[in-house]
């Protein structure tokens, strides 16, 4: 199909264009040019119209069908277009492809040397407890241990909060936490750098990922629902990625993940797992709680 050539044909052929009036003055680069008028046989015009309308009509039908089928099942059912499960497998593939491209872009944008903006104490905002389910019972805190697996030593390490606070330097930062839902909060965090923990307890040499989990997390009805996130070690080594122990100068409350939570401001809030109980370093990408539920796996912001 080469519409443009056809349309511009008479322009090239001076005999069929109307008397071309030469402009009174030389047009500047930005000035609107005179329209290209051409004389065309009515028959040919009808043929062009028919052909282009047909092509356009087919394109429109394809767009409506293709675009419409990308809409979620529940939306189509609500609109009364489909009934029952008619999920198109290619649709999931295409939407996941877009998600992966977006994750790759996020990973390309990430730099370990780029610090996120920090704020002053007067800019601190309130931070809501966005525990997906119920807030856990604080009875786990006295017995709390952080277990490390997948270490270069081949051993399993278990640390309590005193070990952590005594053997690592505490860093402070006032940064913004951005939720996938769209809200954000500025808070003053302190804790140890994840990078320092990685230096003190180096992971196996091939490890590229950390699986971070909280066994105390609860589901919507208060039932145990362990929470787990995947975190690439490149992000874990970012200087502003903390294992936070304090919020706004006070030890973390149960609502905010006592005694230790992950604070990774270069990721969406859902990666900032509360009440961490175990970190496992792996070579392959571990599972992620929200990625399993259709969200991005990388979540870099």
């Amino acid at each position: 199909m080469n519409l443009e050539d056809e349309h511009s044909a008479p322009k090239a052929d001076n005999t069929s264009s109307t008397e071309s009036v030469s402009p009174p003055k030389a047009a500047s680069f930005f000035e609107e040019r005179p329209p290209q008028v051409m004389e065309v046989a009515p028959q040919l015009l009808r043929y062009w119209t028919r052909r282009d309308l047909l092509l356009f009509g087919m394109g429109a039908i394809a767009a409506v069908a293709g675009g419409g089928s990308l809409l979620p099942q529940t939306t189509l059912e609500r609109l009364g277009i489909i009934h029952g499960n008619k999920n198109w497998t290619k649709k999931e593939w295409l939407l996941n492809r877009a998600l992966h491209i977006d994750d790759d872009v996020a990973e390309a944008l990430y730099s370990r040397n780029r610090l996120v903006p920090t704020y002053t104490k007067s800019q601190i905002t309130s931070l809501k407890n966005n525990y997906n389910g119920a807030t856990p019972d604080p009875s786990y805190i006295p017995e709390w241990r952080l277990k490390l697996d997948g270490l270069a030593s081949g051993l399993s390490v278990s640390l309590n909060i005193r070990n952590l606070l005594a053997s690592f330097r505490v860093h402070e930062q006032i940064t913004r936490l951005v939720c996938v839902e769209g809200w954000s909060a500025i808070a003053w965090w302190s804790g140890l750098r994840f990078d320092d923990l990685l230096h003190a307890y180096p992971p196996v040499s091939q490890a590229k990922w950390a699986r971070i989990e909280s066994s105390v997390n609860l589901g919507s009805w208060g039932n145990p629902d362990p929470y787990f996130v995947s975190l690439d070690l490149a992000t874990a080594r970012h200087p502003q990625t903390l294992l936070a122990t304090h919020l706004n100068g006070k030890p973390l409350t149960v609502e905010h993940g006592a005694p230790v939570r992950l604070l990774v401001p270069v990721k969406l809030g859902l990666k900032n797992i509360k009440a961490i109980t175990r970190i496992t370093y792996t070579k392959d990408e571990p599972a992620d709680y929200w990625a399993k539920r259709g969200y991005s796996r990388y979540d870099g912001i």
């Binding site: 069929s16 309308l53 870099g300």
Partner: protein, 276 residues
């Protein structure tokens, strides 16, 4: 020019007998401009539908929670109002969700909405790029550039459109303001601001999508929360543009609508005034 050109002009010559007069046509829109123009319809629709579902998860605009329902979202209020006042909707089972059920993918669809939004957003950027290439190749961008007299002329056009329905009703003559460019000043203002709004939508989108890595971009729009407000109102700009755009194109007639499909218009007479 490829050889097919020669062939086509030959065909025009052969099928134009002396008796049948040719029709004067004027080139309006480049092929790439036409394709991207129509592609932007499903893409924008997808962006708005998924965008409002994303908005639902944490509305930008909130009021004090209603003591009875705990509702704080003005869009939910609109739904409640509609269900209370529109006949036949009194039985609607979730009035606060009415707006989201009808103008978005639906509430509680954040994960799906985000994936669709990214897909449409990348297509939107690609489509916008091809549109700009089409404008450059066809030279159409020159017709979109604002002129010094545009504000006054646009006001004249606006008064013309505003007074037209009454003039038609009272059968008074209502003269269309004269212009000798491809678009009148009001059109030019609207068509110029659409690509600008498109670019701003893309930038505000990135500003709220990557507020840490692109923090400088977020700062340009006044920070994360303000960038969300920009992004939200840019959506309304597109909606507010499309409504009169469609009405005026339909009112203007088949030739105008057809020109965005086939690329040419038979309204060559307008162009005869061009250099006067």
């Amino acid at each position: 020019m490829p050889h097919s050109t020669q062939l086509d002009s030959g065909r025009i010559a052969t099928c134009t007998p002396e008796s049948e007069a040719g029709v004067l046509v004027v080139r309006r829109h480049h092929l790439l401009v036409r394709c991207t123009h129509w592609l932007s319809v499903p893409i924008l629709l997808g962006l708005i539908l998924s965008g409002l579902s994303i908005y639902w998860a944490s509305p930008v605009y909130k009021h004090k929670p209603d003591p009875l329902t705990g509702n704080f979202d003005p869009l939910a209020d609109v739904g409640i109002w509609i269900c209370a006042h529109v006949p036949g909707l009194h039985q609607y089972n979730s009035p606060p969700d009415w707006v989201y059920n009808h103008l978005s993918l639906g509430p509680g669809m954040l994960a799906v909405a985000l994936r669709l939004h990214w897909l449409c957003a990348y297509l939107f950027m690609l489509n916008g790029l091809v549109f700009v290439i089409g404008l450059a190749m066809g030279g159409g961008w020159r017709s979109l550039l604002p002129r010094r007299t545009d504000l006054r002329e646009a006001l004249k056009m606006f008064c013309y459109y505003a007074g037209l329905p009454l003039a038609k009703l009272t059968r008074r003559t209502w003269l269309h303001p004269r212009f000798n460019t491809k678009y009148n000043a009001l059109q030019r203002l609207a068509y110029f601001s659409v690509p600008v709004a498109g670019i701003l939508s893309v930038f505000t989108g990135w500003a709220i999508h990557k507020p840490m890595q692109l923090y400088w971009l977020t700062a340009i729009f006044g920070g994360y929360d303000k960038a969300r407000i920009w992004h939200f109102w840019l959506m309304w700009f597109f909606i507010l543009f499309v409504v009169p755009h469609v009405i005026l194109v339909l009112a203007d007639g088949w030739d105008t609508l057809r020109s965005m499909i086939v690329g040419w218009s038979t309204r060559a007479e307008r162009s005869e005034d061009f250099w006067q």
